[in-house]
């Protein structure tokens, strides 16, 4: 029942918003969101925007995952050579 990918708010009228999810436009209620703005990326569930995606946190965890992956490349290579 959860739509996991974020949608972008492209218009707000009263408490109804038009959102774009992967190129498809839909209506979503903004009633559960504090201070929604056009341009915000939001998570939408059952016709309601339920949360804004935190940009800084998203970048931070991506950087963290990439770094973790990179660390492994460094200590994995000799291993890989040894085992073929």
């Amino acid at each position: 029942m959860c739509l996991a990918i974020p949608s972008k708010i492209i218009e707000i009228n009263d408490n109804m918003g038009t959102i774009d999810v992967a190129g498809v436009q839909r209506e979503a209620s903004m009633l559960l969101l504090e201070d929604p703005q056009v341009g915000d990326w939001v998570i939408v569930h059952a016709g309601f925007a339920i949360q804004k995606v935190d940009e800084a946190a998203a970048q931070e965890s991506l950087r963290y995952l990439r770094e973790a992956a990179q660390l492994l490349v460094d200590d994995e290579d000799p291993d890989a050579a040894a085992t073929g």
């Binding site: 990918i5 569930h45 059952a46 998203a58 965890s61």
Partner: protein
């Protein structure tokens, strides 16, 4: 245009690296449970169970809202659909769930007015457009869905609608975790906490549970890298013997969650005990409409008693929901029970463990 922060978390290279790290880190056999139907589907769709080392067993828990809905509640939904001058509005995944003698789909075929809506707000509009009928919305779902229904009730109040009613069969997650820990049949070494329930609740809602049980618990997002990172953190906690309540989905989940949604939720609902399929009665794990908003409560305005009933004979859905059994251990799986001809809700809902297993494992 890319879909913000979904593509990145689907990056195959990052996923591969995470799997390698998990393989290197995991030594002790562990059983980790996800408690979210969307996690279940993502885990099966991306083949995550197959790439994890044999030390790690993923169990699917009671994360599919339709599946945990008690048989008696399904029978009640059908009884409401049979009332005069009544339109029943529901999310689509309830339609095919078999009740004791019928299903909403069968009732619809016999001419009852049952409408599938995408949002509870659509049911409010339906009530506004049909002033001579009562619209009863079937409220099923966890803390992600319940605020959307609460907001719809408040909207109906503001529109002064007298014919919009909700039959609340909502369930809430934290106390269900308690019940799972109390179940001796399954040993759970860590929980993947649901992503969007946690968006609303925040990490704080799990703290009392965590303090009592000190079991590793990590909130996970839905993309492969999100789930693998949460599994990695759980494994690190198990291996180091240092359990934590941790958040691997910080782009959407905060310590306190969505305060506005929780406020709306609290304004409309109060906790009550609830009957879960497979688990039984769990205290304070359901939501009833508060007395002040009783005019929107179908249970108050149109009370209908339905008898307590047995679940479908031979269906192991209850054991599936607690992780005690996997679908192939059910005698009916793939034989009498298929997605075309489901015996239990675990095969009906696309988020049900039996349906996900059938679709992605055969």
């Amino acid at each position: 245009m890319s879909i913000k922060h979904a593509d990145e978390y689907r990056d195959a290279e990052i996923a591969r690296r995470l799997v390698t790290t998990i393989r290197k880190t995991s030594h002790r056999p562990v059983q980790l449970m996800e408690v979210c139907g969307t996690h279940t589907v993502s885990i099966f769709r991306h083949g995550i169970r197959d790439v994890l080392p044999p030390t790690i067993k993923l169990l699917s828990g009671p994360g599919c809202p339709v599946c945990v809905t008690a048989q008696q509640e399904i029978d009640a939904f059908i009884a409401y659909a049979r009332q005069e001058d009544t339109i029943v509005a529901t999310f689509g995944d309830l339609l095919r769930v078999p009740g004791t003698h019928s299903s909403l789909q069968m009732e619809k075929a016999e001419g009852r007015d049952i409408r599938v809506v995408y949002s509870a707000f659509d049911a409010v509009k339906l009530a506004a457009g049909n002033p001579d009928q009562r619209v009863v919305f079937l409220g099923v779902g966890f803390e992600t869905t319940a605020p959307t229904i609460a907001a719809s009730i408040l909207a109906a109040r503001d529109m002064d609608l007298d014919n919009f009613l909700v039959l609340s069969a909502h369930k809430t997650v934290p106390n269900a975790l308690e019940a799972l820990m109390a179940d001796d049949a399954v040993a759970i070494d860590g929980f993947l906490l649901p992503g969007h329930v946690s968006v609303i609740l925040g990490l704080a809602a799990y703290r009392p549970f965590f303090e009592r049980h000190k079991v590793p618990a990590v909130v996970a997002g839905f993309e492969p890298a999100d789930i693998l990172e949460a599994v990695r953190r759980l494994v690190v906690q198990v291996e180091s013997g240092a359990p934590q309540l941790d958040n691997a989905y910080p782009r959407a989940v905060s310590e306190t969650g969505n305060a506005k949604a929780r406020e709306v939720l609290d304004q409309v609902f109060e906790p009550v005990e609830a009957q879960w399929r497979g688990i039984g009665v769990i205290p304070a794990s359901g939501l009833a409409i508060r007395e002040a908003l009783g005019r929107f409560d179908a249970a108050r305005r149109m009370p209908i008693e339905v008898p307590a009933v047995r679940e479908p004979a031979g269906c192991g859905c209850g054991d599936i929901l607690t992780g005690a059994k996997s679908p192939p251990e059910c005698k009916l799986y793939r034989k009498a029970c298929t997605p075309e001809n489901p015996v239990g809700p675990c095969m009906v809902s696309s988020e049900g463990t039996c349906a996900a297993y059938y679709r992605y494992h055969g």
